[in-house]
């Protein structure tokens, strides 16, 4: 029996999956069981190409799911859009789960058909930054990397000739590498908005490194776990009080760090200088539209206000495209960082957007992507 609110530690019964899994292979086993037992028709997982490259795939092949074990810290793609219009189970970082819920609020995803296996997330890295960092800080040729791990605040790379090198993440970030900016100020590290919240925080003692901590968030989470237990794919046991306390403590530290970094990342800009600041930031825009294309909370489709009423010929002092987006996303932006990641001109769009979205959301005590029943402030007035 599994209940909502349970705190469990578990692992895949398949030794191979357990060993290859990021912690205990539980996530993979749960996803595979959901597919096998017909709970869902498809599963979204990451297909590895190498340490810095992976593509999300939508599959109904259990073997493909079983092959997708492991956490890719340098593949910051958001998976929400892959869940649209399907009956799926998917792994989800907190921001993936937030985007799924925002899409559900806008009628683009049916949550009843979407099983969200949440992954704790301390942050991800941009693949290009990671490669540069390997050369500059680790003195390792990115081609030689065969594995990567995070342990005790250190980022560890393993090379094909068996060497290992660890550097503290703080040190990497001070040198301008490390996690993406949006991850640094993020304060949602445990995906309490998903159906299950899985991670390695709180996995201690004999099980350290070979089990997954799992919090059951709702009925769908219960279903996912019971289904996987029934299929014989996982074994779980209650987490000890100590394990639960450790997990909570690490989370607190990370959340506090996020809040502290937010102040550093968003220094105040005086009223009179802000317009100039935004104009300078946006003047490199080449109008490619990639930031809209990847935005996981945008539910507008191809023909939308930001594009239809925007023309370079207007030669405006500020781009209509960006103005519309800055306003439009102020209640829904989850600061996932996708737009900054893909910008070919390196405009820190997420940071710009957050300067608008964060205060607007806080003022309304609204956090997007947490609960599908929270009405987006823009939809506040409904016909009585």
């Amino acid at each position: 029996m599994v209940n909502v609110g349970d705190m469990l530690v578990g692992y895949a019964t398949d030794e191979n999956v357990r060993k290859r899994g990021a912690s205990g292979g539980l996530v993979t086993a749960v996803l595979a069981a959901a597919l096998e037992k017909g709970l869902v028709e498809n599963v979204v997982v990451m297909k590895h190409i190498n340490e810095f490259e992976a593509v999300p795939i939508i599959t109904n092949d259990v073997d493909e799911v079983l092959a997708s074990t492991g956490s890719l810290h340098s593949v910051p793609v958001n998976l929400a859009k892959y869940a649209m219009g399907r009956k799926v189970a998917m792994p989800a970082k907190p921001c993936d789960a937030q985007a799924v819920i925002e899409q559900a609020k806008r009628g683009m995803i049916d949550l009843d058909n979407t099983y969200i296996v949440g992954l704790n997330c301390g942050g991800s890295m941009h693949p290009v930054t990671t490669k540069k960092m390997l050369v500059a800080m680790y003195d390792i040729d990115p081609e030689d990397v065969v594995g990567e791990d995070i342990e005790k605040g250190k980022l560890i790379f393993k090379t094909k000739n068996g060497e290992e090198k660890a550097i503290a993440i703080d040190e990497l970030e001070e040198a301008g590498f490390g996690r993406r900016e949006s991850c640094r100020f993020c304060t949602l590290k445990i995906p309490v908005n998903a159906d299950l919240a899985c991670g390695n925080w709180g996995v201690i003692g004999d099980l350290a490194g070979s089990a997954t901590f799992c919090q059951v968030m709702n009925d769908k989470g219960v279903k996912l776990l019971e289904n996987a237990i029934e299929a014989g794919r996982i074994e779980v046991e209650p987490a000890s009080d100590k394990a639960i306390a450790i997990r909570a403590k690490v989370n607190d530290v990370m959340v506090n760090l996020g809040s502290t970094l937010e102040k550093e990342i968003f220094p105040d800009i005086p009223d009179k200088e802000r317009m100039q600041y935004y104009m300078e930031q946006m003047e490199d825009c080449i109008d490619c539209g990639a930031c809209k294309e990847v935005c996981p909370v945008c539910a507008c489709g191809e023909d939308s206000k930001c594009t239809m009423f925007h023309s370079l010929v207007d030669n405006y002092k500020m781009s209509m495209y960006h103005l519309v987006r800055l306003l439009h996303l102020s209640d829904s932006c989850i600061a996932c960082g996708q737009c900054s990641d893909v910008c070919p001109s390196d405009i820190p769009i997420t940071l710009l957007q957050s300067r608008f979205a964060i205060p607007s959301q806080r003022k309304r005590e609204y956090t997007p992507g947490m609960n599908v029943d929270d009405v987006p402030p823009f939809f506040e007035v409904i016909l009585k």
């Binding site: 009223d271 009179k272 200088e273 802000r274 317009m275 100039q276 600041y277 935004y278 206000k305 009423f309 207007d314 030669n315 405006y316 002092k317 500020m318 209509m320 103005l323 519309v324 800055l326 306003l327 102020s330 209640d331 300067r355 608008f356 205060p359 607007s360 003022k363 402030p377 823009f378 506040e380 007035v381 016909l383 009585k384």
Partner: protein
């Protein structure tokens, strides 16, 4: 600073049923007001998309006024309540962008409030005159 003799250009969005009537009444009642305003009539203030406000600024408006019926009087039930929701976001956004708050106003004006309309225009014009031309005004537009 503004050039000598510079007059601000103000775009006022007025709804067909109330604030446009207010502007009319201001004229009929011969209330004095500066000739700074260009009125754009819409059926309901709820039709005013933030996009229209951006457009006005980007085309050279020095201030934009969003006006409509008093809350409860909207001729389309609650169009103006929707206006209010959008307006609040818009107001916060333009302030964050660095545009002076005095360049954007929301006001509910009924068809009989001619004097209120004229006073509103007079006040805003004076404030904007002090601020000078909008930083979003395109080069070459006065």
């Amino acid at each position: 600073m503004a050039e000598e003799g510079w007059e601000p250009k103000i775009v006022a969005f007025c709804c067909n049923w109330c604030s446009y009537g207010g502007a009319d009444t201001a004229g009929m009642g011969r209330f004095q007001q500066p000739a700074s305003t260009r009125i754009i009539k819409v059926m309901c203030s709820g039709r005013i998309d933030p996009l229209h406000v951006f457009n006005a600024f980007l085309e050279g408006a020095d201030a934009v006024l969003v006006t409509g019926c008093h809350i409860g009087d909207c001729h389309y039930v609650n169009g103006n309540e929707k206006t209010e929701v959008k307006y609040k976001f818009l107001e916060e956004m333009l302030q964050q962008l660095g545009l002076e708050p005095d360049r954007l106003h929301l006001n509910w004006i009924s068809a009989s409030e001619g004097e209120r309309f004229a006073n509103f225009i007079t006040d805003v014009t004076a404030k904007v005159k002090e601020l000078g031309p909008s930083p979003l005004k395109p080069e070459g537009v006065k």
